[in-house]
């Protein structure tokens, strides 16, 4: 009996080693453990044996069964692994092939993207956002902002009028369209009023704001200028975003780019609002979204911003 078991073991091991396909495992299983299997046959002979011999044989057969089953299981795993490897090889892709585009997403206009950047920067600094009408009364647009009746800006040459009293204002200017001018432009005006505001606060606010929009490394400078609505008035330059301040075509070699006009609100305006200019102070600034967009993205011709050419819009 022991010899039979040993023979079965050796034969099974030999067949396992030589086995080529997973399905042969089923055959071997049948041959060993099936109804007519060799081990089954041996177990059937147990009836003739003594109790001790039976126990001994049973233990030996079980041991062999476990051993062979483990060996077959290991072989099965090998077959599985091999099959998977073959499948992986078959299914390998050319990863350099172009990807399949998702459902085409649209694009926000770069001006909207810039507008949101500016707006979010200001909101982060505690500003609240308001929208003014595009057509405004002459009084609100000029007189209350310290532009007297005969100020050149009120001329028909500079402002679109719709009748003697009204004019579209906030974002319009009589300007022939060219690479850097547009009759329509998007303007964001900032305004802070409080007691004890000063030019240093204006500088600090704008410096923070510009760095939020253009990046931490941008430097700013405030230089004297003139606007009827502010006194003192200033213009804010920022270090050229193209050359970093070394001087290039965009900054005309100066290393600086004019970015916005600003100043301490003219006392006449405070007075027009019923505030005592000795007690109250305010500052204001105006920044052209179109211009910031051009600078931020390096758009060479402002006309692109109103042509709505898909090849332009899909770049941003």
């Amino acid at each position: 009996m022991e010899n039979d078991l040993q023979r079965i073991r050796e034969e099974a091991q030999k067949r396992l080693a030589a086995m080529q396909e997973e399905c042969d495992l089923v055959a071997l299983q049948q041959q060993l453990f099936g109804k007519a299997g060799e081990l089954t046959a041996i177990l059937r002979t147990m009836g003739k044996l003594s109790k001790e011999e039976r126990a001994q044989l049973g233990a030996n057969v079980n041991k062999l069964k476990q051993e062979l089953e483990a060996a077959m299981e290991a072989r099965r795993a090998e077959f599985k692994k091999k099959a998977q490897e073959l499948r992986f090889e078959r299914e390998a892709l050319d990863v350099t092939e172009a990807g399949v585009s998702p459902i085409p997403m649209g694009h926000l206009h770069p001006m909207t993207q810039t507008y949101r950047t500016i707006r979010d920067a200001l909101v982060g600094m505690g500003f609240q956002v308001f929208d003014g009408p595009e057509i405004e009364l002459d009084d609100n647009n000029f007189t209350l902002l310290n532009l007297p009746l005969d100020h050149p800006a009120r001329d028909m040459q500079d402002t679109f009028y719709i009748n003697d009293k009204l004019m579209p204002g906030r974002v319009f200017r009589v300007d022939e369209v060219d690479a850097s001018h547009s009759p329509v432009f998007m303007q964001i005006e900032g305004f802070v009023v409080d007691k004890n505001l000063n030019l240093a606060n204006l500088k600090g606010t704008l410096d923070t704001f510009i760095r939020a929009v253009f990046g931490e490394n941008v430097k700013t400078r405030l230089r004297p200028s003139y606007f009827p609505f502010t006194e003192p008035s200033a213009e804010l330059d920022m270090s050229c975003t193209i050359c970093g301040g070394k001087g290039c075509r965009v900054c005309k070699g100066t290393g600086w780019i004019e970015i916005l006009g600003c100043g301490m609100t003219n006392p006449h305006e405070l007075e027009n609002c019923g505030l005592d200019p000795k007690e109250w102070s305010a500052f204001a600034f105006g920044v052209g979204v179109d211009r910031v967009t051009s600078l931020k993205y390096g758009i060479s011709d402002i006309r692109y911003e109103y042509e709505n050419d898909a090849r332009f819009l899909t770049q941003f």
Binding site: H107, L108, V129, L137, L199, H268, Y306, L313
Partner: protein
């Protein structure tokens, strides 16, 4: 304003580099517009001496010259007759440039020429400036001229001209004197301020000329002096040179004097031929309507009653502040001159110049603003120059009709307040010291700064703006760069974005997610575009706001809908074959309400789709998605008759019975007007309505706890009927279960259903709130639905 360096050096020592000077001026509010060399059109021209001249072997009129250029020798061909061996001449040697012409080595009839000789004209020189400069031929330079040096050096045209932009509040700096005053302060020096001597002269101008100013409001001051026994001729070299540096053309001594004083003092003066002032009486008055004057440029100007005229008893001799009359022009025969130096009101001159479409140099100065004290200084300067140039004999006395207050204004400034504005801590004494550098005298007395505003500083106010005005001056001189950047502190406010801005962002974001590119179109449109959209007579979109001063007819209206601009841009994309056909715009439109009322402004959301993949339903799908994402439920789509769309393919979007917007396929006539092939689909929705209906924070709906059963059916219905009607019947059928999410998923037309009919395949869901539906319940509900449909004329398709 141009500022020649040599002129600046008359008043200060120029002790820094050009770059440093430019930077300092920038910090004082004078931005550089440009720097020019005096001979800006000339480069690389050098002096050379002609060593020999031979006849060209193949050209009679040409000579072949060997020229000594100092460090090298060159062969130059010339046809000039005035050159000779030994002559020193300007040579545009290969590599030189004059104007737009680049000189290179040329081969002329077999002989090489390494450049050309130049004439005086090429350096804009007159005989007065350089003897022989106007000769017909080559400029022969002085015998002692070194060889091989740049021509600029040889003829002393080596100056540099700075051009600074002058801010509108500083008209005084549109003059050499005014700009130098600032430049001197920037250079840290005291300007050697010229003092104009009063030249007494002989006799009295008041015996020759009588001046009557009828409108003192428009002419606050009119001054005049005269000179007789004139010797009209060219002005001297130094004056010609400076006029040229300032971009002016020398004419004759008397005219040049007025131009010179114009740039030097920034005040326009005018020289009349005294003999041409009839009755010796000048009357400054409003013109009569239609009154005509022929100005110096020989053009007839038709005046109106708001314009100020300089006239004599018989008629106009000049348009005040704009241009003199031809009838009193200075000519070579002029023997006596009357210099007018007046202050005219800026706004009036501006209107006159604009109406006459003639903004002269003089008018430009008056428009920017002049002041009466400077008017007199300019007059005295004219007289001084007549004397200096020996151009005539000065007549004594002065005409001075003055309604203006000439005294310097005195103001009191709050030193503390100035420091508060600037965030500085300067004493009153320090402020006075700073102001003194720009010739604004001030004296400190504790917190009180007593400033006397000089006549030329018309920008500094005496009223409530005074502290701010002085703060600007002090800050400018102290240096904005020396003021630190400090963040605001105090009570903080929460920065926030109002709901309308958040909603607009969301609308745009959803549309972008739906594949739309965002457009920005101009707000202007024209009557033809509006007409092409063919809105019904009672459609408010016909009431466009008209501009009084448009660029042109096609931009003369404010848009009442986004359609025109979107169509323009769509047409552009189609023409350019950009390959994209899905766009949106969010923008304002305006409606004229008539009378004096402000137009009504409305924000619209527009969509325009075109291209093979698009259809009425892709557009509608995006509209539905937009409304859905904004939480707007229950939109119905009802056929409308908006004429810019194709009949049968247009609908209103209704929510709660209110029109939220519309959509449709663009009418072929509209396509024709924009000259684009169709089909195009457009929609426009009211942003205000979206905002009103949008649900910002949707309330949580519990998820269905029991399974949902989906059922399909196909019914045969009349061709003209709408699927929404049948889906509504299904969803409202009298059954005991919930019927929802009815959706059309197929339409069939053909022989199987018969002519005039169509088959609709509809899917819907059945469920109950509180239990799993039994087969029995489902069967019963389905049968009821089929019965209802049948009763309403929609039998199941067999």
């Amino acid at each position: 304003m141009r500022l020649p360096k040599s002129w600046l050096q008359d008043y200060v020592d120029f002790n820094v580099t050009d770059e440093e000077f430019i930077e300092r001026m920038m910090w004082r509010g004078f931005e550089l517009e440009g720097v020019e060399k005096e001979l800006k059109d000339v480069s690389g021209v050098i002096t050379g001496k002609i060593l020999s001249m031979e006849k060209h072997p193949n050209a009679d009129k040409l000579s072949v010259c060997q020229v000594d250029l100092g460090d090298k020798q060159a062969q130059i061909l010339t046809n000039a007759k005035n050159v000779f061996v030994g002559a020193i001449v300007p040579v545009a040697y290969a590599g030189a440039r004059i104007g737009n012409h680049d000189f290179t080595v040329a081969n002329i009839r077999g002989v090489e020429s390494q450049g050309m000789f130049c004439s005086g004209e090429e350096f804009n020189l007159s005989d007065v400036e350089y003897p022989g400069a106007e000769v017909d031929g080559i400029l022969i330079l002085r015998e002692d001229t070194p060889l091989g040096i740049p021509i600029e050096e040889a003829i002393d045209r080596n100056d540099v001209i700075f051009d600074f932009s002058v801010l509108p509040n500083r008209p005084d700096c549109n003059s050499i004197i005014g700009l130098v005053r600032e430049a001197a302060a920037a250079l840290g020096q005291k300007m050697k301020t010229p003092i104009i001597p009063h030249i007494e002269g002989e006799g009295d101008v008041n015996d020759l000329v009588k001046v009557t100013v009828e409108n003192g409001d428009l002419c606050p001051r009119y001054t005049g002096r005269a000179a007789v026994d004139l010797k009209i001729g060219p002005s001297p070299a130094w004056m010609q040179r400076r006029l040229k540096e300032m971009g002016m053309r020398p004419i004759s001594n008397i005219v040049d004097i007025t131009n010179y004083v114009l740039v030097e003092y920034g005040h326009p003066t005018h020289a009349f031929d005294l003999a041409c002032i009839r009755d010796g009486h000048i009357i400054v008055r409003n013109a009569q309507e239609g009154e005509k004057v022929v100005t110096l440029d020989k053009k007839e100007r038709v005046m109106d009653k708001d314009m100020l005229l300089i006239s004599d008893p018989q008629g106009g001799v000049g348009v005040a502040g704009v241009m003199g009359g031809l009838n009193s022009e200075i000519t070579e025969e002029t023997k006596a001159v009357f210099f007018e130096s007046a202050a005219f009101k800026a706004s009036n001159i501006r209107r006159t110049a604009r109406k006459l479409r003639h903004v002269t140099d003089a008018a430009a100065r008056f428009i920017k603003g002049v002041e009466p004290v400077n008017a007199y200084l300019a007059l005295e300067r004219c007289i001084e120059l007549v004397s200096e140039l020996h151009a005539g004999r000065i007549v004594g006395g002065t005409v001075d009709v003055c309604a203006a207050d000439l005294a310097d204004r005195e103001i009191h400034v709050d030193v503390d307040h100035v420091n508060r504005i600037l965030n500085t801590n300067l004493s009153g004494e320090k402020m006075a010291e700073l102001l003194a550098t720009i010739e604004v005298p001030a004296k400190a007395d504790g917190n009180d700064l007593h400033v006397s505003i000089p006549h030329f500083r018309t920008d500094i106010e005496s009223g409530i703006e005074a502290d701010a005005d002085i703060a600007e001056e002090v800050g400018r001189i102290y240096g904005f760069d020396n003021i630190p950047a400090v963040l605001m502190n105090g009570d903080t406010f929460q920065g926030c974005l109002a709901r309308e801005f958040q909603a607009e962002d969301k609308v745009k974001d959803v549309l972008v997610a739906c594949g739309c590119l965002e457009m920005y179109n101009y707000n202007f449109t024209g009557p033809s575009a509006l007409k092409a959209l063919a809105f019904a007579a009672d459609d408010e979109r016909n009431h466009a706001v008209k501009l009084l001063n448009p660029f042109g007819e096609d931009q003369s209206l404010m848009r009442t809908t986004l359609y025109m601009g979107m169509l323009d841009s769509a047409a552009r994309n189609i023409r350019r074959k950009t390959g994209y056909g899905r766009f949106m715009e969010v923008g304002n439109v305006h409606f004229d309400l008539g009378g004096d009322r402000l137009p009504r402004e409305e924000k619209k959301v527009g969509l325009i789709f075109f291209g093979e993949q698009e259809s009425f339903y892709t557009l509608k799908g995006v509209v539905e998605t937009l409304l859905n994402r904004l939480g707007i439920q229950g939109a119905r789509y009802v056929k409308n008759d908006v004429a810019c769309f194709q009949p049968g393919r247009r609908a209103d979007v209704l929510v709660d019975g209110r029109k939220l917007g519309e959509l449709g396929q663009v009418h072929p006539d509209v396509l024709g007007a924009w000259d684009v092939p169709g089909p195009l689909y457009m929609a426009e929705l009211s942003f205000a309505d979206i905002l009103a209906l949008a649900v910002d924070t949707p309330a949580f709906q519990p998820l269905p706890r029991f399974p949902v059963v989906s059922r399909d059916l196909a019914i045969v219905v009349p061709e003209g009927s709408e699927s929404a009607h049948w889906i509504e019947l299904i969803e409202t059928a009298p059954v005991d279960v919930i019927v929802e999410k009815g959706r059309l998923f197929d339409v069939y037309r053909g022989p199987a259903v018969g002519l005039g009919k169509k088959s609709l395949a509809i899917t819907f869901n059945l469920r109950a709130e509180d239990h799993t539906l039994t087969d029995e319940e489902i069967k019963k509900a389905f049968e009821t639905i089929i019965r209802v449909l049948g009763e309403n004329g929609a039998p199941l398709r067999q």
